[in-house]
Symmetry: C2
Subunit: 400 residues, 2 copies
Amino acid sequence: MMRWVAGGVTAARGFMASGISAGIKPSRRPDLALVVSRHPAAAAAVFTTNRIKAAPVVISQRRLRRRQARAVLINSGCANCLTGEAGLRDAQRLSRLVARGIGLADHEILLASTGLIGTRLPVVRVERAIPRLLGSLNRQQHEEAAWAILTTDRHPKEAAVSVAVRGGMFHVGGMAKGAGMIAPSMATMLCVMTTDVAAPQPLLRRLLRQASAATFNRISVDGDMSTNDTVFLLANGRSGVQLRAGASSVPVFATALQAVAQRLARMLVADGEGASRLMEVVVSGARSAHEARLCARAVVTSPLVKTMLAGGDANVGRIAAAVGASPARFDPDALDIRIQDQRVVAKGRVVPLPASVVRTLLRRPSVAVRIDLHAGRAEDRMTTCDFTTDYVRINAGYAT
Amino acid sequence: MMRWVAGGVTAARGFMASGISAGIKPSRRPDLALVVSRHPAAAAAVFTTNRIKAAPVVISQRRLRRRQARAVLINSGCANCLTGEAGLRDAQRLSRLVARGIGLADHEILLASTGLIGTRLPVVRVERAIPRLLGSLNRQQHEEAAWAILTTDRHPKEAAVSVAVRGGMFHVGGMAKGAGMIAPSMATMLCVMTTDVAAPQPLLRRLLRQASAATFNRISVDGDMSTNDTVFLLANGRSGVQLRAGASSVPVFATALQAVAQRLARMLVADGEGASRLMEVVVSGARSAHEARLCARAVVTSPLVKTMLAGGDANVGRIAAAVGASPARFDPDALDIRIQDQRVVAKGRVVPLPASVVRTLLRRPSVAVRIDLHAGRAEDRMTTCDFTTDYVRINAGYAT
């Protein structure tokens, strides 16, 4: 019933996109993207929980009170954060130009920015580029848009599905950027998802929150949380499929939305700054869902665990040490840890395995770690990448 | 009144030490240390809060219920953690040999181990080395002992003071090891401090807790918390100076103890794995002491802040982003951040400074960051080191 399809953020009917270089990045790489719905759309979003919010976050939050939007304007190369009133004015000025260019009201444009914190947007340069941005808007430019929102990412991230249901065929698609500052307690990233279902905005918002909680909020690159994180969802109804609370199409749509979000989330971790492999951590047997989550989080944010993973180093005691340092309550003599079905800690003791065996377990593209606390029934999971010298190299010279 | 003196852990009267290579480390570097008081001593300790505790921690906690001890036996190269009953027996066996060798009861020996988690001690080899360890015990061997407790540390860490008070002259001295897994919420490290004052054990314990909270618990290398962290304090009364609750000598002693702990703590961060420079973060204007602490902790554990520091990269927005991601409540438009008295964020805006100016501020051996939340009166501080490619290199191959 659900099929993966091409098309990314314009896979759903009635959406167009474009991505160009507007000269915000000194490198002259693409840095300005636009996604537009040809028709009115219900809009929902999840934003960073960082107390410091970038100008585009502040503006988008205000505009979303109307629950409707038609376009998302995103720039990379500048976060437009800690830029005060001037930064708000910059963002509003650009958004006004875009609104006029495509015949919309200001409040129908949502905004996102990513890049260096504390610098102003080169507004004059971006203004001059906007006609070019609008001129290249079409359904084919989804990949250009996906390129234009990247910072230190190596690859663009796109995903889309088509789903056949009674009453028609709908689509969900999206694009995302991640790399650094990816942390749980908000998917520290930018993401735009689009769909051609019709849905009441409160339902849309609820489903977006659920999908984000299960995907973007279950990944971590470096435990940091950015000032600009945003996930947008626009639904323009062009498929003719209507979602109504309680109808059977709702769980179908929820599954499709979560599948797209999950695929984008995995791409984010796989492309984490400097990442060479992934680790999926499942914590079971916790006394509460909260403790399961905190325990998984402690493991995926531990620099000692993540550097061990980078080296494929047989030092599994570090996983146990991270578990013990978390707030989760458990009996240390009951702790079990498996890597790929091989028990490495059994009843609180490191299993004496040849180092070569453990290294083989760890030196895979994706390492599955299962931690059983044997203290209750709650479970949670989290995905992270390893911590390499490249991560440090990238981040030690980000502004230079 | 207080003078820094040589002598480390044997600066106080009546203490001896030794440090040898017992073949626990494959490198044949020194890995076994002993500190002995010639006379009965009151003993106190602070231990890791990690739920997983190494065998020597479990044994020492039990023995300290007697509030007295005469010796501390420490090995590096093996944490003796997650080793179950066998690990407990190994530790007890070695401690019994030491006790017999110097004519003490088992329970008078305290234990600490550091190194790889999950491997057993090479007991037979260590047993054979113990006569040599006991044979070299004397007052001059404090530096050998300080060398023998190191893992990835580059330098031994010793500090001692002598203090003249009415009634005589007392000493406080100590040695420590740190490097990785240094995190607040226990000084993630090993430390032995000795003094020749006489003091009731409950008083001693209270003063040790206070000194640790202000020093070892205010530093962070990588946010990780080990399974073996221990700070010991032995007081044998040989100076003739008596501490009694309420007497004026108590705050004098407390100051001396904290000074030694503080110097050792600074050495730990300066010698953090791969560290090239320090950052001292002071958070003021917080709504509560708790929030001040969490805010300082968020900054010193942020990989993005720590890699920026490594590169001396003009990217101060990352400090603000870490502050915003912490649980501290504040008005983003009131936030002020200074680096070395230069305001870099003023009322929530990044001050537009030439990148070269910011780089000069950051490229110092020790960088002072002052964050004013303007939300209350509470203050706290934390010291950390930068996050370099060397940290990753050291930890990606620790077990190999």
